[in-house]
């Protein structure tokens, strides 16, 4: 059983997706939208370059919340996110969060994913069973 109390910061998750991470995520998830893997296509539709899959960053958010609850995959019961800034490969992602409440063995954690000043996931709320 993991001990979490309201106001606690969860351990930060830091990772730098390499240049080919979006290709591997596309293969793992089945989402081959070319804006994630083809720089020419991405630029043609007005993006600066290829961008990370939003659901990859949501996956990191899920991982951070699950690990904060002790690591059992079954502990994550609900996760809602809003995608905002675009994520870029080859830039460090930091997922951080704060426990908002703990009631009846369930903790609600507010989570944010960012690359420097660029917040890619905001208003994320995870519910984990302790």
């Amino acid at each position: 059983m993991s001990e979490l109390s309201a106001g606690d910061a969860i351990p930060e998750l830091k990772t730098t997706p390499d240049k080919y991470l979006p290709h591997r995520y596309a293969g793992a998830s089945g989402d081959f939208n070319p804006i994630h893997i083809d720089p020419e296509f991405a630029k043609a539709v007005g993006l600066p370059n290829t961008i990370l899959h939003g659901l990859y960053m949501m996956g990191l958010t899920a991982r951070a919340a699950t690990e904060a609850a002790g690591g059992d995959p079954e502990s994550l019961k609900r996760l809602s996110v809003q995608f905002r800034g675009m994520g870029a490969p080859e830039t460090e992602i930091v997922v951080s969060g704060e426990v908002k409440s703990v009631e009846e063995g369930k903790a609600t954690i507010e989570v944010v994913a960012a690359q420097g000043e660029n917040v890619t996931i905001r208003n994320a709320e995870a519910e984990v069973e302790l």
């Binding site: 990772t15 793992a28 998830s29 659901l55 990859y56 990191l60 991982r63 995959p73 079954e74 609900r78």
Partner: protein
């Protein structure tokens, strides 16, 4: 221009996905998850799972095939060139394990216009071979300049 809302309430045919051990491992690895319950059958069973268990967000893998036809439906008429994935929610029930056969149904919950943007909200409900719900997803896509 008024947004087309004819597809609200529409449901699409269910899809079925059989969960595989190596596919779970591939997905866990790309997210950097190291818990052996996602790779090793004995470790998963020692932790009380039937078989190697999927990370919660693996739900995108088994639910996406049901969502595709919904998003591309001409009746929904979403403009993909101006679309972004705006928000996402998942609620999890029974864990998904290797060997599970998961059936997903997609439905259009809402289509509405706000601040010059179109909001297209879909729901996927995934159940396993025993009829137990494994994941419920709410997918919000935003189209600029409708």
């Amino acid at each position: 221009m008024a947004i087309k809302t004819d597809a609200v309430g529409k449901e699409w045919p269910a899809t079925t996905y059989e969960v595989g051990k190596e596919k779970i491992g591939e997905y866990a690895r790309v997210l950097g998850i190291e818990n052996p319950v996602h790779f090793d059958r004995e470790a998963a069973q020692a932790a009380g799972y039937r078989d190697v268990v999927a990370p919660p967000m693996f739900c995108v893998v088994y639910s996406a095939p049901a969502l595709g036809p919904a998003m591309f439906d001409p009746e929904v008429a979403m403009n993909f060139a101006a679309m972004v994935h705006g928000g996402q929610e998942f609620v999890w029930g029974e864990p998904a394990c290797s060997g599970d056969e998961i059936t997903t149904r997609a439905k259009c919950l809402e289509i509405y216009e706000k601040d010059g943007k179109g909001f297209y909200v879909f729901e996927t409900v995934s159940t396993n071979q025993d009829g137990a719900e494994v994941a419920r997803g709410t997918w919000t896509n935003i189209v600029r300049g409708v």
